[in-house]
């Protein structure tokens, strides 16, 4: 049984169709990239998994339970989440930010988990624990955001353009760090990107979306071979040879 199952997901915002009957399965240990341009529905799809977006039709099942039948707050606390701009709480220290979810869950060792998560994300807790977000570089901030997402050891990690706001070098380092983290922590990840090249480097499987539908879904290694039409165009644009 897949860890995440999405069946016939439909979502409209007024007249705009965000999801037009999307189905997707993500197995334990996979890292799935949702690729597409803005407005393709990839972020909306990601947000249905921890019920930040409620579907008009269709269903999302996580760990065998429909998400609209469980407590959304408990669901969200059990799933790591990283957003593009980091979204760190500005008047909290890095440690307080990193320890947020363990603390919400009432873990008595929340602070220790926060420190460990900072360390895992590549930030020395000795140096960074007491600092405030505005004293950090963009790359460091994004690492704190990743630390915050994994501090409670979730089995699922959702990321919305996690590397999008970073410059090229920082971005590459962050991708490397994430891949190392994923292989050591055995976390199942779904992440959104508009960059097919990034998807192919980081993900095990890629779903290309356009206008609220998945147009190609394949293991990362096979995407290039299957790409026709729009996907081939995206591929060409991201500099990956077919």
């Amino acid at each position: 049984m897949a860890l995440i199952e999405i069946d016939g997901a439909e979502k409209r915002y007024g007249d705009a169709v965000a999801l037009d009957g999307v189905s997707l399965r993500v197995g334990a240990g996979e890292c799935v990239a949702l690729v597409g341009e803005s407005g393709s529905g990839k972020t909306t799809l990601l947000r249905t998994i921890n019920r930040l977006t409620a579907l008009d039709r269709g269903r999302v099942v996580v760990r065998g339970e429909a998400v609209d039948e469980v407590d959304p707050v408990a669901l969200r606390r059990s799933i790591g989440y990283v957003q593009q701009d980091g979204g760190l709480i500005p008047h909290w220290t890095c440690l307080a930010n990193a320890a947020l979810v363990p603390e919400l869950l009432g873990h008595p060792d929340a602070e220790r988990r926060g420190r460990r998560a900072l360390d895992t994300a590549g930030l020395d807790p000795q140096v960074f624990a007491a600092r405030y977000p505005r004293e950090l570089s963009g790359g460091q901030r994004q690492r704190v955001a990743i630390a915050r997402a994994i501090a409670a050891d979730p089995d699922i990690l959702l990321m919305d353009e996690p590397f999008g706001a970073l410059d090229a070098i920082t971005r590459h380092e962050a991708q490397e760090a994430f891949m190392a983290l994923r292989s050591s922590a055995r976390v199942t990840a779904v992440f959104v990107t508009h960059d097919l090249g990034e998807a192919l480097r980081v993900a095990t499987r890629v779903a290309v979306m356009r206008a609220g539908r998945i147009v190609i879904e394949a293991p990362a290694a096979e995407v290039a071979g299957k790409a026709t039409g729009y996907a081939a165009e995206l591929l060409a644009r991201s500099g990956v040879s077919a």
Binding site: Q83, L88, Y132, A149
Partner: protein, 504 residues
């Protein structure tokens, strides 16, 4: 029983006469001198917030009923008596025995050189003259408009001048013609020529106690006491008492006591020594303000501290209530942003209402005293607190709020732990704005009998006593500065660590 007056010297004096007379017969009296305008005092009387105040029959006829006089004093008195009782159950007691009519006056030298003796004579020359009239007179049917209609008097230019500066302006030649009161001490002091009302335009202005219905029904004994003044107080006695206050600087209480003694209604007063009293008054007017102000404030420190305490009470209660309403409202509006704009616009509209007008609107609902003042100040405080709370909440790190929600923070946790701490300095800045506005606006509360530092200011304006005005205005300004300083510190104190200076 509550004895009130309007904000001019003779009204203060007569109210004090009523109060002393009632107290002499063991009735407890609450004094509320200097209430706003005719409309406001009459409203308070009808509502039973005050029991009695001195009024003039001509004012009742022309300014309240909007009628013109037909017939003499007796006819006008009967007309207002019948009409006030029929409409509002308010009773005119028998007139005191003197008239205080409008006296259209000029410098005697100018009147003599132009050969003007009457208002008809003035009409011919008015096109070359400048008038200076109280705002009240300019707006009243029995004022400037009526003069134009009856006599065809059209001035070259007209200035709106307060009672306190009118005589000075006339004496110094800034204006040529003013509206005085026939019993004013100043008419003789400045040696003015009063023009005869040869066509009988002004109605008779007989002074009389105006009594509310509840008082009239429940305290017939007190009514009899007041009615005993009927016909006893003549023009000479009132003019003398006015002079004691306005020229010689005697206190209202002393002048009232002397007046009662002089007309045989109280203990006969020792003959005042006009020479000495005049010297003291002149001395005080000539002293440098800066020198006599601290002395005055020290001598009146008990009253002053009560006024400061009352002022703070007005500000704190209204501000506290505004925070209790506007803070949750501002937070709630974050979820209804469509509604937010209209709500903030309504609060903004409230702030554009002039202070004195807003206070007047409150009278029918809340009577006079502390309640209408607190409600008016509360309404003024809503906008700054509401607007800053809403702005602070929506601008509080929206990306951090989104991330917090995605990681399982509840709406309550987002509010308590992210939004409110980040918005706190901005909300505090709104509270600070509201508090400073309130300290200033609360001085107007004296017009509705709420007390505070407005009391000496209004009394000082009425008696043209700059020391008295400053003894209210200076503490009010100091209070505003202290409140501003204290809340600026509080604003810095609530700024969360780790965040750059707030944006407001």
């Amino acid at each position: 029983m509550v004895v009130a007056s309007k904000p001019f010297a003779e009204s203060y004096l007569l109210a004090e006469v009523f109060a002393q007379l009632l107290e002499a017969h063991d009735y407890p009296v609450d004094r509320r001198p200097g209430l706003g305008t005719t409309e406001l005092v009459l409203q308070a009387l009808r509502a039973g917030d005050i029991d009695v105040y001195p009024e003039y029959t001509g004012t009742g006829l022309a300014a309240v009923l909007g009628e013109t006089a037909e017939g003499g004093s007796a006819v006008v008195f009967r007309r207002v008596s019948d009409e006030f009782e029929a409409r509002w159950g308010v009773h005119w007691l028998p007139p005191l025995g003197f008239e205080n009519t409008y006296a259209i006056a000029m410098r005697r030298s100018l009147a003599d050189s132009l050969g003007v003796r009457t208002l008809s004579g003035l009409a011919v020359l008015a096109g070359r003259l400048t008038g200076g009239f109280s705002p009240d007179f300019i707006g009243r049917a029995d004022g400037l408009d009526g003069l134009a209609a009856t006599y065809g008097i059209e001035f070259r230019d007209t200035h709106s001048l307060l009672q306190a500066v009118k005589y000075q302006a006339l004496a110094e030649g800034e204006v040529d013609v003013i509206d005085g009161y026939s019993t004013d001490g100043a008419i003789s002091r400045y040696d003015l020529a009063v023009l005869a009302d040869d066509r009988g335009f002004f109605p008779p202005y007989d002074a009389a106690p105006l009594v509310g219905s509840a008082f009239y029904e429940e305290f017939p004994g007190a009514v009899v006491v007041l009615a005993r003044m009927a016909g006893r107080i003549d023009e000479a006695a009132v003019r003398r008492a006015n002079e004691r206050v306005e020229v010689e600087g005697a206190s209202i209480a002393d002048a009232a006591r002397e007046l009662l003694g002089a007309v045989g209604l109280g203990e006969p007063a020792d003959a005042a020594e006009p020479g000495r009293a005049r010297d003291v008054a002149v001395q005080r007017r000539n002293d440098r303000l800066l020198a006599s102000l601290p002395v005055h404030m020290w001598e009146n420190r008990m009253a002053l501290s009560r006024q400061v305490a009352r002022h703070l009470l007005l500000v704190l209660v209204s501000l506290g209530a505004a925070i209790l309403v506007a803070l949750p409202a501002g937070v709630a509006l974050e979820r209804r942003r469509g509604l937010a704009e209209s709500a903030i616009r309504v609060a903004g509209l409230l702030q554009t209402i002039p202070g004195i007008a807003l206070l007047a609107f409150m009278i029918p609902f809340f009577g006079i005293g502390v309640a209408p003042a607190v409600v008016a100040l509360f309404l003024y405080s809503l906008l700054p607190v509401l607007r800053n709370t809403y702005t602070g909440i929506i601008e509080a790190a929206p990306d951090a709020v989104a991330a917090g929600r995605a990681l399982g923070m509840t709406e309550g946790q987002l509010l308590r732990r992210i939004r409110l701490p980040l918005a706190a300095p901005i909300i505090m800045a709104g509270v600070r704005t509201a508090a400073v506005i309130n300290v200033g606006t609360a001085t107007l509360a004296a017009f509705v009998g709420a007390g505070g530092l407005g009391d000496p200011i209004v009394a000082g304006l009425t008696l043209s006593d700059p020391v008295l005005i400053l003894s209210g205005a200076v503490p009010a300004a100091v209070l505003a500065l202290l409140v501003d300083w204290g809340l600026a510190r509080a604003e810095a104190g609530v700024a969360p660590r780790g965040v750059a200076e707030s944006t407001l």
